[in-house]
């Protein structure tokens, strides 16, 4: 044991440490931070990453959030006020009886793979929704289409089996996305559309980058280098915003932090509207929620304003039914089930369901875990013992609750536009609401005049509420916090889509 050997031992250790580091060569990892933000670039923080980019086979709003209006476009689109606007269709005419739509399509529109967009692609896209290739449940929105034909390259004729007030609006959502006949081989990773952006890279668990197309048919966006970074944790995203790593947190999931940003001039805080309802879903097909009295008891047991205050720092609006105030057939139904635990207990006793024990599948999303804690506490007050079971979102929740309907109670943010019918007018949907009372009414309303549509739909929604099919806790706000210099933020989440093309830096 002398100094020389001990020094050698030390050197050995150092060499081993160096080897560990050398193993991780300099290229290690790909960068995920560091936005110096040149004027044509932006980094946006989001929570809830898509599993892949194929909404035709995979459910979940995270996919259309990225690709709709950015990568894919529709014949029509929905603007920030919730109004229908032309997109790939320049104009359209509807026949007297409301069943034949003649669209005039924009000329010289190309897909990102270089192919021209023609009426044939539109026919292909519409028929694809009706085919087996399209697995997403929203495909039923295309059921009303009897045929689609390409009259010429720029003329498309769609014939409906009956008049529909809803169909054209739905065509502004992802059901109406226009695909290229030759571009649907790898939708999961390489979406090809006519929109202003293409997906440049998709780093699982981290980010998606979009690049502006220089051959876009419309007005090219100012910001051509878009990075969407996904955070597992809402607080981490706001920390990243504050330390300058990202420029905007869209659909911010840590509402208690809003106050801190409001008082800081470097940031702008926007409370946008959304179509997202926080839905406390009850499985109408299984006990105990196959009994309308038990469902009604839940409605009375929950103090919705308290849920908003405690779970979401007071951001959010009570709406009473699955219809946001921006929809034409909105009606204030918030008084139908006031907070009344006494009444809830009576109903439970009547149904012979005292000391009820249920499981409550909660998706791993900040709003869901927050809401669930207070809901469980309020249910306990009336004698319902709900035990929380965590379902990883999206994979597990979509599989177990949404697809297999293997659940009793769950909670989810339903973000799709005008989704009241998709949710309740389908007995096979995971809610399992018996739609026999409303099915005919729905068709009558949809086929009727606009006035009949409004009054008919209001009646349908009232029926659903009377049956307490599920509890709409509140309308979810689209909270956006961004760098104060960012303009053109589409803060109203009227569809799932996060519209990027309007963004611009003010200096």
């Amino acid at each position: 044991m002398n100094a020389r050997t001990s020094r050698r031992a030390l050197a050995t250790t150092a060499a081993a440490a160096a080897a560990v580091l050398a193993l991780s060569a300099c290229s290690a990892g790909s960068s995920s931070g560091g936005s110096d933000t040149p004027s044509d670039a932006i980094v946006i923080g989001l929570t809830g990453e898509p599993v892949n980019l194929d909404f035709t086979t995979t459910s979940g709003a995270a996919i259309p959030q990225v690709v709709m209006n950015n990568v894919y476009e529709g014949l029509v689109t929905i603007d920030q006020e919730g109004e229908l606007q032309p997109q790939l269709a320049e104009s359209w005419e509807v026949s007297e009886d409301g069943t034949v739509y003649d669209f005039a399509l924009h000329d010289e529109v190309t897909f990102s793979d270089g192919e021209d967009f023609t009426a044939a692609d539109a026919v292909f896209s519409i028929e694809r929704v009706q085919s087996d290739a399209w697995l997403n449940g929203t495909k039923s929105k295309m059921d009303v289409v009897a045929s689609a034909e390409a009259v010429s390259d720029t003329e498309l004729r769609v014939t409906l089996s009956r008049p529909s007030n809803a169909w054209l609006f739905d065509m502004g959502t992802y059901v109406g996305a226009m695909f290229s006949e030759t571009g649907v081989d790898d939708l999961a990773t390489t979406p090809i559309g006519t929109g202003p952006y293409t997906v440049e890279s998709f780093v699982s668990g981290d980010r998606i980058t979009l690049a502006g197309r220089d051959d876009y048919w419309g007005e090219e966006p100012d910001i051509t280098d878009v990075t969407l970074r996904y955070f597992a944790d809402a607080v981490a995203s706001t920390n990243a915003l504050r330390s300058g790593d990202i420029d905007m947190v869209y659909n911010m999931q840590a509402p208690d932090l809003m106050g801190q940003f409001e008082s800081d001039d470097a940031f702008q805080v926007i409370e946008g509207t959304s179509n997202g309802e926080i839905l406390l879903s009850m499985n109408n097909r299984v006990a105990p929620f196959d009994d309308v009295r038990v469902r009604q008891a839940v409605m009375y047991a929950i103090d919705r304003q308290a849920v908003i205050d405690a779970a979401w720092a007071g951001y959010g609006t009570e709406i009473g039914a699955m219809v946001p105030p921006t929809d034409p057939y909105y009606e204030d139904l918030t008084d139908m089930y006031p907070y009344d635990p006494e009444k809830a207990r009576e109903l439970l006793a009547e149904a012979g369901a005292e000391d009820l024990s249920i499981t409550f599948d909660v998706p791993t999303r900040p709003y869901a875990t927050a809401v669930s804690e207070i809901v469980v506490s309020q249910l306990a007050e009336v004698g319902i013992d709900a035990s929380i079971q965590s379902s990883e979102f999206p994979a597990v929740w979509l599989d177990k609750v949404f697809t297999q309907a293997d659940y009793q109670m769950s909670v989810i943010l339903a973000v799709e536009a005008r989704d009241v019918l998709a949710t309740f007018n389908n007995p096979d949907y995971y809610i399992g609401y018996d739609n026999s009372k409303i099915a005919d009414q729905v068709i009558a309303a949809d086929s009727g005049t606009p006035e009949e549509y409004v009054s008919g739909m209001q009646e349908v929604v009232r029926t659903i509420s009377e049956d307490a099919a599920s509890d709409v806790l509140f309308l979810f706000p689209n909270l956006v916090v961004a760098d104060a210099d960012l303009d053109g933020i589409a803060a109203n989440a009227v569809t799932e889509s996060l519209i990027l093309s309007g963004l611009t830096w003010s200096d």
């Binding site: 044991m1 002398n2 100094a3 050997t5 001990s6 031992a9 030390l10 050995t12 250790t13 081993a16 440490a17 560990v20 580091l21 193993l23 991780s24 060569a25 300099c26 290229s27 290690a28 990892g29 790909s30 960068s31 995920s32 931070g33 560091g34 990453e49 599993v51 892949n52 086979t57 995979t58 087996d132 697995l135 790898d186 999961a188 990773t189 998709f202 780093v203 699982s204 668990g205 981290d206 955070f231 597992a232 944790d233 981490a236 920390n239 990243a240 504050r242 330390s243 300058g244 790593d245 791993t364 990883e392 979102f393 999206p394 994979a395 597990v396 599989d399 697809t403 297999q404």
Partner: protein, 315 residues
């Protein structure tokens, strides 16, 4: 020496083989047919059959295992059923991130712990040594994610000295890379430093009672000098052991720090893949983690031979 090395190597390989088989079997228990997970519940039987044939999940388990192992040996982890992405580049990327994070944290821990541990041992009867020892004892008890959360709150959000997280590849921007690593490395390394300090202290205390040190001191060397000249190597065995154990634990343990600092490491990928029920990804990540742990244990074994003359002679 060579024989010992060979037998270590043999054990290393055998362990690896059994461990991968275990992982493979363990994950077959995971509920859900991967074909259904990939294609959705509405998929037609033909589509499912075609998918199974394409990904080979219709073959016998043994064959699937062999194919998987064959891929592993070639560094091919396959294609994720869920994201349709090639797993190999993803995992290689993440492994590097985790290795850098863990390696640097351990380096920091050793740089702090070795001198402090020795100091605490030399001064074990002085108040300063007792205080050091007490601090390390408390440090061991603090969850590192709490350290991380507090560091972010103070140094990133409040003071703005460092970024709150994220990752920049060293090749892209070395300065930014370093800046981003400061807080996570402190969070992960400081608790390790506390643990290792305790081990260094006891190891050194033990050695200080040994005869050769007394002789050295009798020859007029100071306590510290005697220790540095003669004791370090002997204290090495327990310290190398604990460093190995901690390194192995940090590989997966760093997942919490990765979460707090939004670092795209292997642990975060595992948690995400579990959430997505991405069977192949989970399988590959667990295999890589286990391989690394076994590798570390193997290296620790080798280090004994180098450090401990008695072990060397025995071989």
């Amino acid at each position: 020496m060579a024989r010992r090395l060979l037998s270590s190597l043999g054990q290393f390989l055998a362990t690896l083989l059994v461990a991968t088989a275990l992982i493979f079997v363990m994950l077959r228990v995971m509920p859900g047919d991967p074909a259904v997970v990939a294609l959705g519940i509405n998929a037609t039987p033909e589509a499912l059959a075609q998918w199974r044939a394409e990904y080979g999940t219709d073959q016998s388990l043994a064959l699937q295992y062999l194919q998987w192992m064959g891929g592993l040996v070639r560094g091919d982890f396959g294609t994720s059923y869920v994201t349709s992405q090639d797993l190999s580049p993803l995992i290689v990327d993440r492994v590097q991130v985790t290795l850098i994070l863990v390696g640097l944290s351990m380096l920091l821990a050793l740089l702090v712990a070795v001198p402090l541990g020795m100091l605490a041992a030399i001064r074990h009867q002085h108040p300063s040594g007792v205080v050091l020892s007490g601090i390390s004892q408390v440090g061991v008890a603090v969850p590192n994610f709490l350290v991380g959360v507090l560091l972010v709150a103070v140094f990133a959000v409040h003071l703005g000295w460092f970024p709150s997280g994220g990752w920049v590849a060293p090749a892209d921007d070395p300065v930014e890379f370093a800046r981003r690593l400061v807080l996570p490395v402190i969070a992960l390394g400081s608790v390790q430093a506390a643990i290792i300090t305790r081990y260094v202290r006891s190891a050194v205390l033990e050695i200080m009672r040994e005869d050769f040190l007394r002789t050295a001191r009798a020859k007029g060397l100071t306590k510290g000098a005697a220790l540095v000249r003669h004791g370090l190597r002997n204290a090495g065995v327990p310290v190398v052991t604990i460093v190995g154990v901690q390194l192995a634990a940090m590989l997966i343990g760093s997942v919490v720090i990765e979460r707090v600092f939004v670092i795209p490491g292997l642990g975060s990928l595992l948690v995400d893949s579990v959430g997505n029920r991405d069977l192949l990804a989970v399988q590959a990540i667990v295999a890589v983690l286990v391989l690394l742990v076994i590798l570390i244990n193997f290296l620790v074994d080798l280090a004994y031979t180098v450090l401990d003359p008695r072990l060397r002679k025995a071989a």
